[in-house]
């Protein structure tokens, strides 16, 4: 496919800008996932204690 279709001006430095934004967002996304895991770990233990125990009991 030809690059002929670049008929709009993407803007000077626009590609670089997107790379930086994507990197920042990627970082934020990574930490958010980690944070959610940590949160789930703690809240899961607190809230999920009963059902977890029940589950174990059921299993036994």
């Amino acid at each position: 496919m030809k690059q002929f279709f670049l008929y709009i001006d993407p803007g000077s430095g626009s590609y670089l800008v997107q790379a930086i934004i994507a990197a920042v967002l990627g970082g934020l996304f990574y930490f958010k996932q980690k944070w959610l895991k940590v949160k789930a770990f703690f809240s899961g233990k607190k809230k999920g204690q009963e059902p977890e125990n029940t589950g174990k009991h059921d299993g036994q």
């Binding site: 002929f4 008929y7 670089l16 800008v17 790379a19 934004i21 994507a22």
Partner: protein, 461 residues
């Protein structure tokens, strides 16, 4: 350029719009053949068209222009009325911005990408935004970022941000900057506290400071991935969704609630207008100064396609949201001040025609607006009659007498230079352009409704 090419359709080499036998067609050029075939074979076109996100078209295998680069002719569904972004309210802008991101994301799923992001590619049909240009998609190269990113920020995010942080009247700024509000200017206009927002920092402040003084071309090679692009698209979406109109705190402009005019008056007026609307052969209506849209919704309810305009953006936004909630699909609210309607703009002043050139309805309703134009703006009765006669062949107009509380209010702080402001002068001036078919005094307010037919319109029409 083909001889019948539409004056707004010259930027994209992939094809162009042209007029033929009173219909609008789109020519696909040879250079876009592969991309067009991919749009069809990937299933993207079918999906978007089925979901009413992209204007449907039928393919024709005949060349209807004198342009030799012809690959295919498309006959798109004909657009009922073309509105322009600077006539939209806040929520219409936001819905249009979200549609654009939605198209970008869907296209990527089908191995294509949106190559431009201008709100001029969007129009409102059946109460929702629809993308007009089927040539806006190209093959997706995952190693490249989104070419239309900056265009999207300047064309969609910028007006919405200004409306959100300053005032939604600034949406009109797009009329001066139809290619998008430059980031440099946007950064200056936004309040400092807006920079506390991560989205503003990333999409406005950072690009603005990075590109200042830089003269790099589009050929920079920066490695990119699909995941990165999705991060950007998702972030833009949550950004746009988070924006609220700065004026949204204001109450619905309740003309009929606040007014000293009685319910009896309103009911009398409603009954009369309804009766006339039902009797008239007109299929489309332009409601001037629609306010809460009470009468526009009545016309739409009777099955007439209605364009409802008001200078007040609050009214337009509230009416759009109300119609969306009630699923009224044949009513288009637009922010147009009839004493200063949108002008013709763009190259040669032909790219975007003026509102008065575009609007073609069969009935014009000018209810409780005449005094604002005559006394508020010093527009004479004959000037009014002439302009109204160009808007539509049928006219329902409400005459507001001089002793009406609303007129008294308008004259309160100014000299009364309106000696001729009386019913006889009004009917005399309007009789030069119209034939007065009916006259109905509204006894509870002293106002008078008139039904008029333009002089050149024979009753058989």
């Amino acid at each position: 350029m083909a001889s019948n090419q539409h004056p707004a359709s010259f930027r994209d080499p992939a094809g162009f719009i042209f007029e033929h036998d009173g219909k609008f067609y789109r020519q696909v050029n040879q250079c876009y053949a592969d991309q067009y075939n991919l749009l069809k074979s990937s299933g993207l076109y079918d999906r978007l068209q089925k979901e009413n996100r992209l204007l449907a078209h039928t393919e024709l295998d005949t060349c209807l222009t004198d342009n030799t680069d012809w690959y295919k002719t498309l006959l798109p569904a004909q657009v009922t009325f073309m509105s322009y972004p600077y006539e939209w309210g806040f929520s219409q802008w936001r819905d249009a911005a979200l549609l654009t991101l939605n198209l970008l994301k869907t296209a990527i799923q089908y191995g294509m990408i949106l190559k431009d992001a201008t709100p001029f590619n969007i129009y409102f049909e059946n109460g929702s935004p629809v993308w007009l240009d089927s040539l806006s998609f190209e093959k997706y190269d995952a190693t490249k970022p989104w070419i239309a990113y900056r265009q999207y920020v300047e064309c969609f995010v910028a007006p919405l941000l200004l409306a959100s942080h300053r005032s939604h009247e600034l949406l009109k700024l797009f009329q001066l900057y139809p290619d998008g509000i430059p980031l440099k200017m946007l950064a200056k206009l936004l309040p400092l506290k807006s920079r506390l927002n991560i989205h503003v920092l990333l999409h406005v402040v950072l690009p603005n400071s990075l590109t200042a003084g830089k003269k790099k071309g589009p050929h920079e090679t920066v490695p990119f991935t699909r995941q990165k692009l999705m991060h950007i698209a998702d972030d833009l979406e949550s950004f746009v969704r988070s924006l609220k109109s700065a004026n949204s705190e204001k109450k619905w402009s309740n003309y009929y609630g606040e007014t000293v005019l009685s319910h009896e008056y309103l009911n009398e007026k409603k009954d009369c207008v309804k009766e006339w609307l039902e009797q008239l052969p007109a299929r489309s209506v332009l409601d001037l100064g629609t306010n809460t849209g009470l009468f526009a919704q009545m016309a739409a309810g009777i099955g007439k396609f209605t364009v409802a305009v008001d200078a007040d953006l609050d009214c337009i936004d509230a009416l759009y949201l109300d119609c969306k909630q009630k699923r009224v699909t044949n009513l288009l609210p637009l922010s147009v001040d009839i004493s200063n309607p949108s002008p013709a703009i763009g190259w040669d002043n032909k790219e975007r025609p003026a509102f008065l050139t575009r609007i073609k309805t069969e009935l014009c309703m000018a209810l409780a607006i005449m005094h604002h134009l005559v006394i508020g703006k010093n527009i004479g009765f004959f000037q009014l009659a002439t302009t109204f006669s160009q808007l539509a062949p049928w006219l329902i107009i409400e005459f507001i007498p001089k002793d009406d509380p609303k007129v008294v209010l308008l004259l309160q702080d100014r000299e009364d230079i309106f000696e001729d402001y009386r019913e006889s002068s009004f009917t005399e001036a309007f009789s030069l352009r119209f034939i007065i078919e009916k006259r109905k005094p509204l006894h509870h307010a002293g106002r008078i409704l008139f039904l008029m037919r333009r002089k050149d319109l024979s009753l058989e029409n």
